[in-house]
């Protein structure tokens, strides 16, 4: 078991997993705050098209995913002021994106294993170049996020007052969408297109159930994200089963367990925390 940790592919996997769960936790905090879960799901489905489409140009699937998610995120940020809820439009675009992905898959890759890798993640086969790419973009995303942190928080919690105070709400929304695109492309590397929720939404949603304070909440969601990723990888290696199964299962079970538990311990904390721009 411990000898396994000396293997290079395992070290790559742990490095990439650690970095990506930190970024996901921070960006995920804002996604939950801004109720953009459905937009996140759309972007990850588009990522599938990107990953399979990359094969046409002989690029790595991570590059394709980056390209497509950032492009679509830019579109969402520019045109869609209301990318909320379960719009039929988004659903139709999603299905079409996936349909296109199936076509690319059929045309340029012969085996279904690759599709399963994209859909359910393949962290154990991360290459050095993938690692450097996610390291570079991830660090950049974190720096940008650190710079816009306060205005973004303000704009997310109370867009109208922020607007009145001169915060560029629309621009911030656009920048955040692009950051979300980058984050999702990286998350797909670890857990795949279909399980992005596990790293992006679950830690942040769990943390926001426990505390209202932004700083504490973000740290808690980073801690949870790391716990899920590391735990998932160790369990996956130990039992020789897909890593993404354990990451998703740990994340989902923690979220589902924390609500009744917290409700039980301190009912008065569990009042509606709804605020502007948040779906109830």
């Amino acid at each position: 078991m411990l000898a396994l940790l000396n293997q290079q592919f395992i070290q790559y996997a742990f490095l990439a997993g650690t970095l990506i769960s930190i970024i996901c936790a921070i960006v995920g905090y804002f996604v939950v705050l801004r109720s953009q879960a459905f937009a996140a799901e759309s972007l990850s489905c588009v990522g599938f098209t990107g990953a399979t489409g990359a094969a046409i140009f002989g690029a790595s699937s991570l590059v394709g995913t980056f390209f497509f998610t950032i492009l679509i995120a830019f579109g969402f940020g520019t045109f869609g002021k209301r990318i909320k809820g379960r719009d039929i439009e988004i659903g139709m675009v999603l299905s079409f994106a996936l349909g296109l992905g199936v076509l690319f898959l059929k045309l340029y890759t012969s085996n279904a294993t690759e599709a399963v890798g994209i859909l359910f993640g393949s962290i154990l086969s991360v290459t050095a170049s993938d690692l450097y790419l996610s390291l570079g973009t991830g660090t950049l995303a974190l720096i940008i996020l650190a710079v816009i942190f306060r205005p973004l928080l303000f704009a997310s919690i109370d867009p109208e007052v922020a607007e009145a105070r001169g915060v560029p709400v629309v621009l911030l929304g656009l920048i955040f969408m692009v950051l979300l695109g980058i984050t999702i492309a990286e998350a797909i590397l670890v857990v795949g297109v279909l399980l992005v929720f596990a790293l992006l939404i679950a830690p942040a949603a769990t943390a926001q159930h426990i505390t209202n304070r932004p700083g504490v909440s973000i740290f808690l969601s980073i801690a949870l994200g790391l716990l899920f990723t590391w735990g998932g990888m160790l369990l996956g290696l130990f039992f020789h089963t897909p890593v993404s199964f354990f990451i998703a299962a740990l994340a989902a079970i923690t979220y589902l367990a924390i609500i009744p538990l917290y409700h039980l311990i301190s009912p008065h904390f569990y009042v509606s925390k709804a605020h502007h721009g948040r779906e109830v």
Partner: protein, 265 residues
């Protein structure tokens, strides 16, 4: 060009998709009217775990699909009012279901090919047995829906007045989700878990933007659904490309045309 229609696997595909398109259009219409499109999406993902579990047990995937989606349909129906933060909670349930789906498929040695066919559909490989299952489930559901049609329509458009008039709104809601579950299960064979929107929501959403009358809308949605599936299968058989891609493109294209026309006028 048309000689492929004589192959029995093409005929099976045409017959099965005919039944699927009819029930999907009817159920899809009510899904839209009731604002439950996300539930359709959710049920199909849960179905993936069921199908994978059935494969593991050596049973036909359709039974796993039916079992899992019907149970979750009832669950969603009962919990619908209670759950707060629906998007996040449902999203996390989906993630869990998909995770178990991949685990089941991993435990089963067939792995990738099976996953692929559940996720993206394999209408051209449908067995005669599954054609029968599809036809029977579709016909029975249609008959019952016909019987429930008026109260369901009433309770979808105006639940409060319907309730006051003595229509069992809540029970109808749960019963309806059972039909959604059945429809999703048989539609998965045509377009797969991930593209369920194209057959379930696509035709009805397009039809609703063309005509207003419920009966005409449903009729048009049925025609569109059958047209998408048949044209999709026909082109796919000619070109040897995935059926679900063509169905998704037709569904998306038609919706786009209607939507753009609306924007312009």
């Amino acid at each position: 060009m048309f000689e492929i229609l004589q192959y029995s696997f093409i005929q099976n595909a045409f017959i099965a998709s005919f039944f699927v398109a009819i029930i999907a259009a009817v159920v899809g219409y009510f899904l839209l009217v009731r604002g439950l499109t996300f539930a359709g999406h959710a049920l199909s993902h849960v179905g993936f775990a069921g199908a994978a579990g059935a494969v593991l047990l050596g049973v036909d995937p359709i039974f796993g699909l039916l079992a899992f989606t019907i149970i979750s349909g009832i669950g969603i129906g009962m919990l619908a009012r209670v759950l707060k933060e629906r998007d996040v909670t449902i999203g996390i349930f989906l993630t869990l279901a998909l995770a178990f789906g991949i685990l089941f498929l991993f435990l089963y040695q067939g792995y990738a090919e099976q996953a692929y066919s559940i996720l993206f559909g394999t209408i051209l490989g449908i067995s005669t047995f599954n054609v029968f299952v599809t036809a029977i489930f579709s016909s029975i559901s249609l008959l019952i829906l016909l019987f429930l049609f008026r109260p369901l329509l009433f309770s979808s458009f105006d639940p409060e007045v319907a309730q006051a008039r003595g229509v069992p709104v809540k029970l109808l809601g749960v019963v309806f989700l059972i039909f959604v579950a059945i429809t999703v299960s048989i539609s998965v064979q045509v377009v797969g878990v991930l593209l369920i929107f194209t057959l379930l929501v696509g035709p009805a959403a397009t039809a609703m933007r063309v005509v207003k009358n419920p009966y005409l809308t449903i009729g048009l949605a049925i025609c569109l659904g059958i047209a998408y599936s048949w044209i999709g299968i026909f082109i796919a058989a000619q070109t040897n490309l995935p059926v679900s891609f063509f169905i998704a493109s037709l569904s998306f294209g038609a919706y786009l045309v209607v939507r753009l026309k609306e924007v312009i006028s």
